[in-house]
């Protein structure tokens, strides 16, 4: 059978199983991977819909860099993963583009960067860059490919274990950090786009090729692929800002 037709045929079979499982309110586990540099907040509307509509929906979220998540997927420990697309995907991983996310620089509101419309790599090199302790993230890959001078302030003492750590270090004036436009950021931190035209990360949803999708996975992938991500990322940032503002 032609591969394209076979894919459509498999999709049709999955659709039948999906509707039948929904009707009989079958158990619906979903094991989902996510890069530490992508906030789970962007998934909230999809996860809410699954929770509202699918009986016995059981979600497990696992954080990890892309390579580690792909290994888990190929081993059958994860059903899908939402990641910043790496340079090379394993052959057996299917991917669907959700949106393109622009890289940004986080700084204090009083920092000189906050007055700029965008920050060039050479200007970034003049500052103390805050790093993440976990290697292999897309933020690491970005810094590695930006034309930053060898003797730049990249050799920094400050390193955070997660995004909250890094944000607090920015707020404390310990340096600046790269992040992405879709990431929610606490109030009191300025966000400035990076000027480099390649400073974009494609955010993709992935699943293992050739492996039958469970009804819950099929539903999750449909919701993710049907979604209009242009507004979704705006909603994510607004929701985070409102949430922080309402804290006593």
């Amino acid at each position: 059978m032609l591969p394209h037709l076979e894919a459509a045929f498999v999709a049709a079979q999955t659709a039948s199983a999906q509707a039948a499982a929904f009707r009989r309110r079958a158990d619906a586990p979903l094991h989902l991977g996510l890069n530490p540099t992508i906030s789970a907040r962007i998934l909230m509307p999809v996860l809410r819909e699954l929770g509202d509509r699918i009986n016995a929906f059981e979600l497990t979220l696992v954080e990890g860099i892309s390579d580690a998540l792909f290994v888990k997927m190929l081993d059958g420990d994860l059903d899908a993963a939402v990641v910043a697309e790496p340079d090379k995907l394993p052959e057996r991983i299917n991917r669907w583009l959700l949106f393109e996310d622009r890289y940004v620089v986080l700084c204090e509101p009083g920092h000189r960067f906050a007055q700029l419309g965008e920050v060039s790599a050479s200007t970034l090199a003049e500052e103390r860059l805050l790093l993440r302790s976990q290697d292999g993230s897309d933020f690491d890959r970005l810094l590695a490919r930006l034309p930053l001078a060898a003797d730049s302030q990249r050799s920094t003492r400050h390193c955070g274990g997660n995004e909250d750590h890094v944000e607090q270090m920015v707020a404390a004036g310990l340096g600046v950090a790269v992040s992405a436009a879709s990431q929610p950021v606490a109030p009191g931190i300025a966000v400035v786009p990076l000027a480099d035209p390649d400073a974009i990360r494609p955010i993709i949803v992935t699943a293992v090729a050739g492996r039958p999708h469970s009804p819950c996975l099929a539903t999750f992938l449909k919701l993710m692929r049907a979604r209009d991500w242009r507004s979704a990322t705006e909603d994510s940032r607004s929701a985070a800002a409102l949430s922080e503002a309402s804290k006593p």
Binding site: L5, A8, A15, L97, R225, A226
Partner: protein, 220 residues
């Protein structure tokens, strides 16, 4: 003026362009020779249940809709198609009459993402547009086909990238079709025409719904 009259005007305009005319005649001819429309579900067949996302990110289950009344299922190619756009708008005009019979209307497209989401707002539609991701439901209804090469080339020349819109490289599109399904899930009306410039008249659909409603009332 009927939907058919509107579509005639669009067809005449398209026929004036040799490239469009060639691709159209080639595709319609190929589908006709393959008797593609004959593979679609027919009156008396049972509709497969489906669970698809709508433009608001909510899941729509066909069984739930059928519990409330008969269902009109419309397959369209995408808002890149002028015939589809006009048909969607004509269905919106007919919506009060459709709903007046107790019926519901859904329109399915293989479009995903922003292309799918903007269809509703751009054309002022109030009924559910559903994303038939990978054309699975279209295949179950027997209306899915792979666009032949000349037609793919035409669409590409017009900047219409179905790979990007669908999230797959199959270039599958539905034969535009309209089905009316009664509450037991049985198809009572089927309009399937390989000539994508011809669509079901909304008035005809409403008449079928009224007949179903009349039968329902007669049975008590």
């Amino acid at each position: 003026m009927s939907l058919g009259d509107d579509l005639d005007k669009i067809r005449e305009h398209g026929a004036a362009n040799e490239k469009i005319r060639f691709a159209y005649e080639s595709m319609v001819g190929q589908l006709g020779r393959a008797e593609a429309a004959g593979r679609a579900l027919k009156i008396g067949d049972t509709m497969p249940s489906f669970l698809l996302p709508n433009a608001e990110g909510r899941l729509v289950f066909s069984d739930d809709l059928l519990r409330q009344g008969p269902l009109v299922v419309n397959f369209f190619r995408g808002n890149w198609c002028p015939y589809c756009r006009r048909t969607l708008e004509a269905l919106e005009t007919a919506l009060p009459a459709i709903e007046g019979t107790g019926g519901h209307l859904v329109a399915l497209t293989p479009d995903t993402g922003s292309h799918f989401a903007e269809t509703k707002g751009r054309h002022g539609l109030t009924y559910d547009i559903l994303s038939d991701v990978d054309g699975a439901v279209g295949l179950q209804f027997g209306v899915l086909f792979r666009a032949p090469e000349p037609y793919r080339e035409l669409l590409a020349s017009l900047g219409i990238d179905l790979e990007e819109r669908h999230g797959n490289s199959g270039w599958f599109i539905p034969i535009p079709a309209t089905f009316v399904v009664d509450q037991s899930g049985v198809i009572r009306y089927a309009f399937v025409n390989v000539d994508f410039t011809r669509r079901a008249e909304p008035e005809e659909v409403v008449d079928v719904l009224r007949a179903l409603s009349g039968r329902q009332n007669a049975c008590g």
